[in-house]
């Protein structure tokens, strides 16, 4: 089980009977063995209500269930793929960045306003996350897509990290994020640095950043 990185843009997953995998629809490149791909309406856990919730929240990236026994290769759109292993903590990521994740992980949709009220919502808009984001928690591996290579920056209580909202990919651990603004009179007269908004992440955990400001 788990994902093996074949090259920066492709991962290989092993599927065994009784274990299932969720992946973005259409992201399978090739497979060996006896594997079936079933469109998953509910996209994991939570039944019909959470499915409707996800649709309203615009976090309803179509998923499919991968079951059987064999190996499957995943890749999508030529994007770089980063495998993140979770051991009990929670990963926050946009649903359309999810390439594949193990069925042992629990998926739910989080309202950004619950993390910091109105500023959370503003932050979601600026960061291109919208008002909602997806959280995966439990034990297992996630393959996340990004434009350009991905690097991991540890966040420690002494050392908060500032990230360009457009380059932000995901974060996990006990991290609070806050939108910090550096708007000044220069921005008002059109002479800004173009870096007026930053995400400030503090706490303990890690943030994943892509080497590009292009969104997926």
């Amino acid at each position: 089980m788990g994902f093996r990185e074949i090259n920066p843009k492709m991962v290989e997953a092993t599927v065994a009977p009784g274990q299932r995998l969720f992946s973005q629809r259409g992201a399978m490149l090739a497979y060996r063995g006896d594997v079936t791909f079933t469109p998953s309406v509910t996209g994991g856990q939570g039944g019909v209500m959470s499915m409707i919730g996800r649709r309203i929240a615009d976090e309803d990236t179509p998923l499919m269930t991968v079951e059987g026994s064999g190996t499957v290769l995943f890749g999508h759109g030529g994007h770089h793929v980063q495998v993140i292993r979770l051991s009990g903590d929670t990963l926050y990521v946009e649903a359309d960045r999810l390439l594949a994740f193990e069925g042992t992980l629990e998926q739910r949709t989080v309202f950004l306003g619950s993390q910091g009220g109105v500023m959370g919502m503003v932050r979601g808009q600026v960061g291109g996350q919208g008002l909602f984001t997806t959280a995966l928690s439990g034990h297992g591996a996630v393959a996340v897509m990004a434009h350009g290579g991905v690097f991991e920056i540890p966040v420690t209580p002494q050392r908060p990290v500032h990230v360009d909202p457009q380059a932000y990919v995901a974060h996990h651990g006990d991290v609070r994020n806050r939108l910090s603004t550096a708007l000044g009179w220069r921005d008002m007269v059109g002479r800004g640095s173009g870096e007026a908004f930053q995400l400030e992440l503090s706490g303990s955990g890690a943030v994943y950043v892509q080497a590009s400001e292009e969104k997926l």
């Binding site: 629809r25 079936t36 309406v41």
Partner: protein
């Protein structure tokens, strides 16, 4: 030689330090010409050193060459012959570029992915529409969206991820729509509720050989490769219309029309 790449800024090449018939970086390939010839797709040369002539083919002077190593004259106008001596750089829109050596072998490749090849190889149209076959001994250069991965059959491959195959494993279609059967599945197929997984159709390869995959499902633009004679029994020949559509046309996930047709609905 010029490996001061990372610390001292970009590597600066001159004719002596450029590799000979090898990659300069993942996206650029350098061909050394020494009185020899290469075929290349129009517009894929980005720069060259030395004296190299680029001749469009199909204009008389190179008729013999075309007869011996270019067996599909119908699309010859999309290729040029590079002749002379020097080094030339090939690239295609920052796609990954790789060279492959064939030794008395055969390899079938998607027409859009092939950039250049040595005239010691013979280029023919494949029976599979949209693909070209290279036969013989020599080197060729191909582009792909993401690095190329080599897999051994038996394997099933997404049509958009397939770059090509070597040594003749049998390529055939494989349909997987088990979830469309039964009462719930029938409802799903009729209403379109729940969508399709987008993976109902694969290319299946069995037998001995190698299958080449690219790391993404974004296709390279298909290169015109000429028509095949419109005879009965020739796939894509037009005698029975539209047979060759399946391989090239991109399929949208959730597109149900063709599935329904497949079920006779």
């Amino acid at each position: 030689m010029s490996s001061h790449g990372f610390s001292g800024g970009p590597a600066v090449h001159d004719p002596a330090t450029l590799p000979s018939d090898d990659n300069v970086n993942a996206y650029t390939f350098c061909v050394e010409l020494d009185g020899s010839q290469w075929f290349l797709q129009k517009g894929k040369m980005i720069s060259y050193y030395g004296s190299i002539e680029f001749d469009g083919i199909g204009h008389g002077r190179l008729d013999r060459l075309i007869r011996t190593s270019f067996h599909s004259p119908l699309h010859a106008s999309d290729w040029v012959v590079a002749r002379g001596s020097g080094k030339m750089l090939l690239a295609d829109r920052a796609f990954d570029v790789n060279s492959f050596d064939l030794e008395d072998g055969n390899l079938t490749i998607r027409s859009g992915n092939l950039l250049a090849f040595q005239p010691s190889l013979a280029l023919k149209q494949s029976i599979v529409p949209g693909f070209l076959t290279l036969i013989g001994t020599g080197k060729f250069v191909a582009a792909s969206n993401g690095p190329v991965v080599f897999m051994e059959p038996p394997i099933r491959v997404d049509p958009q991820a397939l770059v090509g195959w070597a040594d003749c494993p049998s390529p055939c279609h494989h349909y997987d729509h088990g979830y469309m059967t039964g009462v719930l599945g029938g409802l799903r197929a009729l209403t379109g509720l729940g969508g399709a997984s987008g993976e109902e159709h694969q290319f299946e390869f069995v037998g001995a050989g190698t299958v080449l995959l690219q790391s993404s499902e974004t296709l390279m633009a298909e290169q015109p490769m000429g028509a095949v004679p419109p005879d009965a029994g020739v796939p894509g020949g037009g005698a029975h219309g539209g047979q060759g559509q399946q391989s090239g046309a991109p399929r949208l996930p959730g597109q149900l029309g063709d599935l329904q047709r497949r079920f006779g609905l």
